[in-house]
């Protein structure tokens, strides 16, 4: 129980904080989303559901929706299998180097999947992909062994970059699982298969499912991979269709409305997914908390030990190392299409994009400043809002809790469309075509990360600390400053980096909002690739990868120190 609300002076502070928190969430997140819902059903001056349904029935819309579902389902199933298998392998078997592998399997988290898609296009496009060409030239294949421009290709690339969502959840569950459960089954005479089927799988199922749903949520609303690999063969999903319509229309209302309807579909599916995830987590969570630090028994792979290890290394090499190498190599070519021989390779493109080419220099500058500003603002706003949600007992908190859930469930392209509706002049403020609109969208998009990190940190601070301070005569402000703030600093730092790094490679939101002057790194890579400046776009992708990996190093270093 916090005592502060009983005192008159702090009553004001509490109310101000609450009011500010609600205001931020309403302005940044709720208002744009409401505008989308409103525009999806409001035609001229009345609600018209029939019109909305007729738009949904148009072949293009319907097909985009189906594509989103098909691609998301294939990616989800694939990532779940891959992620669960590797998680089991590194936590429950005696495979060598499992710690190293565990960290390698998390690397795809850092890599932007649209850069991966560009790399895989170069490796597996049907006629010119390096791997396809290699097989056709050396083994007499008539056609490509794999065509990346297909549903399978798109899903395969998404799986490569999304499976860590499941991997990380399942690893955690397997490590936390109480081994006595399995041991008692074994003592009672159950075989390995029975134990796996009856004990292990049911116990980790909630984690697998919640990871799978995260992937589903992400993939439904994912722009980059589908845009890079799908458009040429007429495969497009909801975010790609929204982007294409908005960009071709020059801001006509019809396309905005179509976008709003599609965005509504995304919001609804996201809501269903989130609801399902909560349901699963609430039923399954308690079962796996063991608390005791027994090491679970490890399965001896015996003869399979070395082959499995080689398989893991091959997977890592194939999905992580190979695409990265290709990006850097193509970035070094003088023009795309030349063979990778020393005379064709140089650092000229890298020099050009860093020092001479305004588009890329601006893009790097824009992304770094946008990411930094968004991270700082979101970090502070996040700690304030989480404080109200976690610690304060004030009236009206329920609204805030609901609002605080919103950023988690609104996909990027929906946020982008929402800020276009909200901030392009209809309500007095016109930010369209400026960096500010991207900043607003970033804040809305990344608020969820900040809320998560900060509320986790705040939950660990016991109320008695603040109460003790207040009992000794500190004002509320003093207790906040001297007790709470120092203790949540690690959470705030984590929030900062959780926002700063992803925003450096952000594409889904910025592609909808950029103007020629306000390209971000992601947009520059994407548009340069689309414009046929393939080598330049790869060089920029290479630089982006370097910045991201260095940033990750800094995080790991400091988060260890800060004990996050």
């Amino acid at each position: 129980m916090s005592a502060q609300i009983k005192q008159k002076s702090s009553f004001g502070v509490a109310q101000i904080i609450l009011f500010l928190s609600i205001a931020i969430l309403v302005i940044v997140v709720a208002f744009p989303v409401l505008l989308i819902l409103f525009n999806a059903f409001w035609v001229e001056d009345h609600f018209d559901f029939a019109n909305t349904i007729s738009i949904l029935k148009q072949p293009a819309t319907y097909e985009a929706l189906m594509n989103s579902i098909i691609i998301a389902s294939m990616s989800t199933v694939g990532s779940t299998i891959v992620g669960t298998f590797f998680a089991w392998l590194v936590t429950r078997t005696d495979i060598p180097y499992h710690n190293f592998m565990k960290s390698m399997f998390l690397v795809p988290f850092m890599l932007p999947s649209f850069i991966g898609a560009i790399a895989w296009k170069m490796l597996l496009s049907p006629n010119a992909g390096l791997i396809n060409k290699f097989f056709m030239e050396n083994f007499g294949f008539d056609g490509p062994i794999f065509n990346i421009y297909s549903y399978y290709g798109i899903s395969a690339v998404e799986i490569m970059y999304l499976f860590p969502f499941v991997f990380i959840q399942v690893c955690g569950a397997l490590e936390r699982m109480d081994p006595t459960l399995e041991e008692s089954a074994r003592i009672s005479g159950a075989g390995l298969m029975t134990i796996t089927r009856k004990i292990t799988i049911p116990l980790v199922m909630p984690s697998i499912l919640s990871g799978a749903l995260l992937i589903m949520l992400y993939s439904m609303a994912h722009f980059g991979t589908v845009a890079v690999l799908g458009i040429e063969r007429g495969i497009y999903n909801i975010p790609v269709l929204i982007y294409e319509r908005i960009h071709q229309s020059g801001g006509s209302f019809d396309s905005i409305r179509l976008g709003a309807i599609l965005a509504t579909v995304l919001v609804i599916s996201a809501a269903i997914i989130i609801w399902a995830q909560r349901k699963i987590l609430s039923t399954g969570h308690y079962q796996i908390i063991g608390g005791k630090s027994f090491r679970p028994t490890q399965l001896k792979l015996r003869g399979l030990r070395i082959p499995m290890m080689l398989f893991c290394f091959a997977y890592i090499g194939f999905t992580i190392v190979l695409p990265t190498v290709i990006i850097f190599l193509v970035g070094g070519l003088s023009t795309y299409g030349l063979p990778f021989t020393p005379e064709n390779l140089s650092l000229d493109n890298y020099k050009f994009i860093l020092f001479d080419f305004d588009v890329t220099r601006d893009a790097i500058f824009n992304s770094v400043t946008l990411g930094f500003t968004a991270a700082v603002i979101t970090m502070f706003a996040g700690v304030m809002i989480s404080y109200v949600i976690v610690k304060m007992k004030v009236r009206g908190k329920g609204i805030l809790e609901f609002l605080g859930m919103l950023p988690f469930s609104v996909p990027g392209s929906v946020i982008a469309l929402g800020v276009i509706l909200a901030w392009s002049g209809q309500f007095g403020i016109n930010l369209y075509n400026t960096v500010w609109i991207i900043l607003v969208a970033y804040i809305a998009r990344y608020m969820a990360f900040s809320l998560k990190a900060n509320s986790a940190a705040l939950e660990q601070i016991h109320d008695s600390l603040v109460e003790a301070a207040r009992a000794c005569g500190a004002t509320m402000w003093q207790s906040l400053k001297d007790i709470v703030l120092p203790l949540v600093k690690p959470g705030m730092l984590a929030a900062f980096f959780l926002i700063f790094l992803p925003s450096l490679r952000e594409l889904t939101v910025s592609i909808m909002l950029y103007a020629p002057t306000t390209r971000t790194i992601g947009v520059a890579i994407y548009t340069l690739n689309e414009d046929g400046e393939t080598v330049i776009s790869c060089a920029l992708a290479g630089i982006a990868l370097i910045i991201i990996v260095l940033g990750q190093f800094v995080i790991n270093h400091f988060s260890k120190k800060a004990g996050v």
């Binding site: 170069m122 006629n127 010119a128 020059g250 601006d362 002049g425 689309e530």
Partner: protein
């Protein structure tokens, strides 16, 4: 301890910022493309808004040199340009008009119908360049609202490793086996030149031409540059490509060749008009830029970049294999621009339906 950690992180972030910032300021400050918050602040000396802004669909290899030359001639005028696809620029202009102020002073793209549209909407400032007599003019109804500054051409770009024999007729694309399943056309919704070429080919050969291309497995690519890169790498064997983009890649060693069909009056010639926006605060500077763009000096740069100028008195490098300006004008497929104008959306839709059919 924790404080130190934060300070360190801040230091790292700040130094990262400084590196990028100094990277921005370090290079020669050619055409600082006013990056939103960033370069706007760093433009320092010039009083805000005292900059000529050009929107163009010409790529860096063409516009960069011209702007530099103009600045050398007019040291008092600051210039800023935005290079992007014509469709994206028009979308930006539409948004800017809604907010009440077009940020560009000059526009130079290859999407002729857009210029007729803007003329009808009366947002262009008529200006007849002082050197008009020396220029080739592709527009019958010329009235000074916009002036062609380049006679861009498109040819069939072949990958020289895959196709040995130059195509000579438009029908080669669907009769000869080497083009089967390997011919690409940029998405007309993204690229103005691609849209214009589709309209030109359709007016000359009808939609049957595209039906036959579809039967021969022709594909829709993305931007006008990407189809050329796809041809260069061998994903496509040939494509419809813009002259100077191809020439700049050939100059860097790409195994490509730009081929023109030898049939009479079958050249894809797409003029790139330049125009000044009405109400620009930099009218004098804008007029100076248009004059410069049409001068022998700038047109020489146009020719050197590998495309066709609007003046007959500039030297064309034979390595580019381009037609002479007067021939480009004479042999170009003739259409009434005002007639194809209202058809734009339908043309794109029909084209996408035919070629994209599964």
């Amino acid at each position: 301890m924790r404080k130190k950690g934060i300070m360190l992180i801040m230091a790292v972030v700040m130094s990262l910022l400084t590196v990028v910032l100094s990277g921005c300021g370090g290079g020669p400050k050619q055409a600082s493309s006013g990056s939103g918050s960033g370069a706007g602040a760093s433009s320092g000396g010039a009083a805000g808004g005292n900059k000529l802004v050009i929107y163009t669909s010409m790529k860096e290899s063409l516009i960069g040199g011209i702007v530099e030359g103009f600045k050398k001639k007019n040291p008092g005028i600051e210039v800023d340009y935005q290079s992007a696809g014509a469709g994206k620029l028009m979308a930006k202009i539409a948004a800017e008009r809604q907010s009440g102020k077009i940020l560009a002073d000059v526009i130079w793209t290859s999407e002729v119908p857009d210029f007729y549209n803007m003329k009808n909407e009366k947002i262009l400032e008529p200006y007849t360049p002082s050197n008009i007599k020396e220029l080739l003019n592709p527009f019958d109804d010329y009235d000074g609202t916009f002036t062609a500054a380049r006679l861009g051409t498109l040819g069939v770009i072949i990958n020289t490793d895959k196709i040995k024999e130059d195509p000579t007729k438009w029908s080669d694309i669907y009769t000869k086996p080497e083009y089967k399943n390997g011919f690409g056309i940029a998405d007309p919704a993204l690229s103005g030149t691609s849209y214009m070429s589709v309209a030109l080919l359709q007016s000359k050969y009808g939609w049957e031409y595209f039906d036959k291309l579809h039967e021969a497995g022709a594909r829709i690519g993305k931007g006008s540059g990407q189809v050329i890169d796809d041809t260069s790498v061998g994903e496509l064997t040939a494509c419809l490509g813009v002259d100077y983009i191809t020439n700049s890649k050939i100059a860097k060693g790409a195994h490509l060749k730009l081929c023109y069909m030898t049939e009479p009056n079958a050249l894809l010639m797409v003029p790139s008009p330049v125009a000044i926006f009405k109400g620009t605060p930099h009218l004098d500077a804008a007029k100076k830029f248009v004059d410069y763009l049409l001068s022998a000096e700038a047109q020489q740069k146009v020719a050197d970049a590998g495309t066709v100028p609007v003046r007959t008195d500039v030297k064309q490098d034979p390595k580019h294999g381009l037609p002479k300006p007067e021939d480009a004008l004479k042999n170009g497929i003739k259409v009434k621009y005002t007639e194809i104008l209202p058809e734009k959306e339908n043309t794109i839709k029909k084209f996408t339906e035919i070629i994209g059919k599964k």
